[in-house]
Structure formats: structure tokens, C-alpha cells
Symmetry: C2
Subunit: 291 residues, 2 copies
């Protein structure tokens, strides 16, 4: 346990997923001790779709009703498919960090063996066609620095922000040449704002020009940034600091060099969202077989 205070607590209430951990019993270990993969994505509907996909791939619990274990917390959806949790994290670092703290505590209390956390998201692309799957190497913050900044007790704490290279290598190998989409490894910009933070011209507020925006996106491109989302620096840094292996696998739904508005059709978007599912599904299946 990275935080020694947790050892001294008789019980821990994981408030936002409404799970009570009572250390006098083995209940948490019984319910979650088999977890090997924790998948995270923005919306409840996408995580339910991922859970259904993994049920098919792993041939587990098919045709059974999908139960949201986090429902009574009213914040995050939590589905369990055998050794995989699929959880919705909302939008942004703050929202995801609340869940991540509680899930990391959960897998530690349950004594899960070397669980891998993966974010399976949607994002803006940079110089890659919409529908490209991007696996993140280094995460950059809104100041274009490869680090995560967090205010702790009023002080600015700076932490490293990169993903696990061994997990990345294995995930990349799960992309097949016959897949109808590209998969690339690249760096990711993680921002705290979808509009101004990502240089969009179409927010409620915009105090810069098209030229300023394009010059910013060019700088990003030169840093090897291939996609833009809102979680990468927090996710990678908290995983590193707590000894959790993590990966960020997102599908781009637009190319920001061509515009700001999301204009894919709903049908295209649904197909795009399945692309990371396919790759991650293969990765999970292979790694369960090799255990």
C-alpha cells in the first residue's frame, strides 16, 4: 500500500462508487480479487458496450443482465466481466482522479495481482485521419510540458507522466494488418478545458486568432503529439506514483488540423468507438491465456 494511513483504517468507504471495505472480512477479496484488468472510459454507455464486447471475446456471462456495481453512488458506472472491470470516469482529470484513487485502493485491498489499468477513450486527432487509434507514449499538459502538475496542500507538485512501455508494446502487437483502421503510437496532450485549453475557436470564450491556434497545434505536432484529450497526464502520473501499470488507447473522432467541430455521424462514431475495443479485447484475451 503506497499510502501508509490506509493500513490503520478498519474500514474504508469508497464514497463515489458506494463500496464499503470492511477489513474484518474477506468480502472485497472475494468479490474483486480476480481482477487483472481495469478498463476506463468517459461514458457509461461506452463502458456498457465494452463490457458486452468483452463478454463475447472472453465468452463470459453472455445473455446475463449487465449490472452496474457503482449505480447507487450516482457518479460512475462499474461493470465486472470476469477478471475485467469496465468503469466510466466522466470528463477530465478531476473526475477521473476521484474514481482512480478509489479503484486503486480497491485493487490493493482486494490484493489483485499486478492489475493493468487502461483508458479506452475518444479524442481529437492531430495530423491523423479520424478513426485512427492512438496509443499514448508520453503525456503533455496544457503548458506543453511532459509532466503532471497538481496542487497539494497549496504547493505545486510536478510528477512524471508517461505510460508503461511493456504494456504499450503488447497492445500495439494486437493491431492486425487486416483491421480497417490505423493504429499509431504517439504523444498525447491532456488538457483541463475542451475549448480554450485545446485552442478551439468555437467556445463561449475565445481571445485568440486562427493563426494563434494553428501555431499552437503546430507546436504540439512538433512534440510528437498525435491526439488531444483531457485525462492523460493525471492518469499516467497517478499510476506511476502508485505502482500501477497503465495505458491510454483512444480513437480520434476528428482531425484538429482541419477544424474544431465534431462532424462524424452517430453511426461512424459508434464504429470508431469499437476500434479500441477490438485491440484491447485481443490484448486481454491473449494475456489471460498466457497466465
Amino acid at each position: 500500500m503506497v499510502n501508509p494511513n490506509l493500513l490503520n483504517m478498519d474500514e474504508d468507504f469508497l464514497y463515489h462508487i458506494n463500496i464499503k471495505v470492511d477489513k474484518d472480512t474477506n468480502d472485497i477479496k472475494k468479490q474483486f480479487g480476480d481482477i487483472k484488468f481495469v478498463c476506463l472510459g468517459g461514458t457509461k454507455s461506452r463502458m456498457a458496450a465494452l463490457a458486452e464486447h468483452l463478454r463475447e471475446v472472453l465468452q463470459i456471462d453472455q445473455n446475463k443482465e449487465l449490472i452496474d456495481l457503482g449505480e447507487s453512488g450516482h457518479r460512475y458506472a462499474v461493470y465486472k466481466v470476469g477478471p475485467v472491470l469496465c468503469c466510466s470516469h466522466g470528463i477530465g482529470m478531476a473526475s477521473m482522479s476521484v474514481l482512480l484513487h478509489e479503484l486503486i485502493k480497491l485493487v490493493k485491498y482486494a490484493e489483485c495481482i499486478d492489475p493493468v489499468f487502461m483508458r479506452i477513450g475518444t479524442c481529437g486527432g492531430l495530423g491523423v485521419p479520424p478513426g485512427t487509434v492512438v496509443v499514448t507514449k508520453d503525456a503533455y499538459n496544457g503548458y506543453l510540458r511532459n509532466e503532471h502538475q497538481i496542487a497539494v496542500l497549496g504547493e505545486n507538485i510536478v510528477r512524471p507522466a508517461y505510460f508503461d512501455s511493456s504494456v504499450n508494446s503488447k497492445i500495439i502487437k494486437c493491431h492486425e494488418s487486416t483491421d480497417n483502421f490505423e493504429l499509431v503510437i504517439g504523444n498525447t496532450l491532456g488538457t483541463d478545458c475542451f475549448y480554450e485549453g485545446q485552442g478551439r475557436l468555437d467556445g463561449a470564450l475565445c481571445n485568440y486568432t486562427l493563426q494563434d491556434k494553428m501555431s499552437f497545434l503546430k507546436k504540439c505536432y512538433e512534440l510528437g503529439i498525435k491526439n488531444i484529450e483531457m485525462e492523460a497526464t493525471m492518469f499516467s502520473s497517478l499510476a506511476l506514483a502508485t505502482g500501477i501499470k497503465a495505458a491510454d488507447i483512444c480513437v480520434t473522432i476528428l482531425n484538429r488540423l482541419n477544424g474544431d467541430q465534431v462532424i462524424v455521424t452517430m453511426a461512424e462514431k459508434v464504429e470508431f468507438e469499437k476500434r479500441p475495443f477490438i485491440v484491447v479485447g485481443r490484448y486481454i484475451k491473449q494475456n489471460l491465456q498466457s497466465n
Copy 2:
């Protein structure tokens, strides 16, 4: 319109609430032009409860099915009760800012007259008993500065962060001496992290001692901070920058000077959550009558 780029767009897709604005028609004005109040809160269930409360207070649409206008966007719930929108914003500045940009554009496109935005949230309290309603004056960020920092095009932009004093005065007057709860005005700490960002000892990670935490909370207390949540600096600064009147009215569900874990019962929590509804319901009713 604060962002001149929006004037040149024939249509705008408010992607995360899945609302298309077609400027060739009057549809948006017809559907949303009567909005005078936009209420925002973390969860969908709480905002549905607020919508039901306001239906009763304003005697509008009672017994009709409540429709979530944002449902197809899969991110935020949007309920309309006559001249009031009730929207869920998730957790944290980033999540709320996505919605806020889109709602501010919505009320501007719909030509709503002087709409007031109010966050009706839950929070941690500082030196006030659980169940106290706190109306925010000044918002402080995680560095204990009364400002909001945002990375725009790679640069650090600092903006003022305080709420509308005229709206606050009116809201405070809606608290009645016979109410079974206290209402106070005070400053609010808005952080980007529920655990480390708020000095909790029970996160997955904690690199400080109980003494460090208490010294941090004491500093907060000396700044007049009465509650801690995760949205105040972004909300107030974006409202100020776009000319929107805003208020933040939250109920405390624990006193952080006494601990970190949320231990109120579900029944207490539900009763606490209704307290800001009561005050805001009276405020909305009075202001609609005086128009």
C-alpha cells in the same frame, strides 16, 4: 456574443449535449428563449430531484414525465422546467467547463434575457456543521489564491474568480429563520483533486502527515474558506469573462476539521441535498414573480 467567431458560423453543434443550432431557423429561440435560470449540479439524479422540486414550487408540468434533453449526448442530463434548466455537470472544473461553454452558447443563441447560472452542489465543510448551506463569495484555487488559472495555447492565463454579489444577497434573503438548517456566506476552495488536492489522508497516495493537513486546513480557514469543492474557480471566472451572473450554493456533507471520510447516512444526505433546493426554489419563484 463574447466570441466573435460564433457570429460567422451558420450552425453550431453543441456536441456534449447533442443539440444542433441552425441559425437559419428560430428553433433554438423557440425552445430555450424563455430560460431565466440555469441550475447545475454534479449528478443526474440530484438534478432530476431539483427539477421535480421546482415543478412543485412553480406549479409547472407536475405529473408529466421528466425528459432528459441531453440524454442522446451520453454525458450530461438537461431538464427544462418552464424558465429553468437543471443540468448535471459531473465532477470537477474540466467536466463542468465543457457543459458551461455549451450552455452559455445556448442561452446566447436563444437570446435569453439576463439568465442567472447557479451551481447547487455538495461539498466538504470547514468549521461548519454538516448540513450547512454555503453561498460562495470568493473562490480560491488549490494554491490558495483567489483566482482561476487556465492553460490557453500553452500559456498560463489568470482570471478573477468571485460570484455575483447582487445575486448572493437575494439568495441569502431566501433563507428563513424557521428553516432547520444554517446558511452562511463564505469563501470556497475549488480543487482539481478530491484526495490530495483537498489534503485528505485516505487517498491511494498521500505524501504528507496529519499535521501538514491540519496546517493546510487552518490556512484555508484563515482565508474565510467555509467549504471545499471542485468547480468554484472555473465556474466563477468563466461566468465573469462571458458576462453571465453566477452563484454557487452548496451543502456541506462533512466537517473536514473532524475527518476525511463521508459518514452521513443516505437518508441524511438526501435531506441535506434538499436544503439548497429549498433556498434556490424560493429565490427563483420570487424573481419570476417580480418580473
